[in-house]
Amino acid sequence: MAFQSRKKFCFFKENSITEVDYKDVKLLKRFVTDQGKIMPRRITGTSAKMHRKLVRAIKQARNIALMAYTNTSTES
């Protein structure tokens, strides 16, 4: 039985988004695990160029307390 993996695609390229805003937390949360870790490119399928912008935006959002650095089960 052959395993067919779903084809990955860049979310930003599909939706023609060129810049990532750190204030758009709803969008950024798609690319973060429940723990709050940034998901790797091999899982999300984002292009290298957009992944760099995404990582910067997530880190900026964390700095200004819009996103959590960590989200452990004890806190919530």
Partner: protein
Amino acid sequence: MRYYESLYIVNPNYEQERLDEVIKSVADKSIEYGFSIINHRVWGKKRLAYSIEKHKYGSFILLHFETELTENLERFERFMILQKPILRNQTVGLTIKPEAQVEEKSVNNLEQKETTEESSVVTETKEQSNVESEENSEEGLSVEEEKVVVTEEESAQNEETEETVELAIEEEATEEVQE
């Protein structure tokens, strides 16, 4: 010109007056450093992702400005850090010129005014139409009454069975005769 966006969190316990004072002090300082302000507005009171100085909420304030004096940015950063009511601040460079939202608000206000005027006109026309309908109803009351009587008779007939229908016809005939 280079464009920058500064987002800072003010103590959530501050009332509107004290918040305005903080905003004014930041605006004055930024003008002193030669920044031309494009936007300076309150983004809102939001829940922080993690507590800062034991505060779970914070008033977020957004400042868009443009400047060529990049050396003053460090001084501005220093000033923001030293302010006690400001819990956290972050200045980010922008590639595109931000849109001024103050003008949009005024435009929205104008639109709202226009809509209210339109709605008042609509209510006036409605009142007029109501008056007309009342006049019509006064004239046509007798006609409507007749119609209602006819429909009642019809409904009563539908409910009756075949046997009763025959009886009813006889009764009607007798009524007609009496009339």
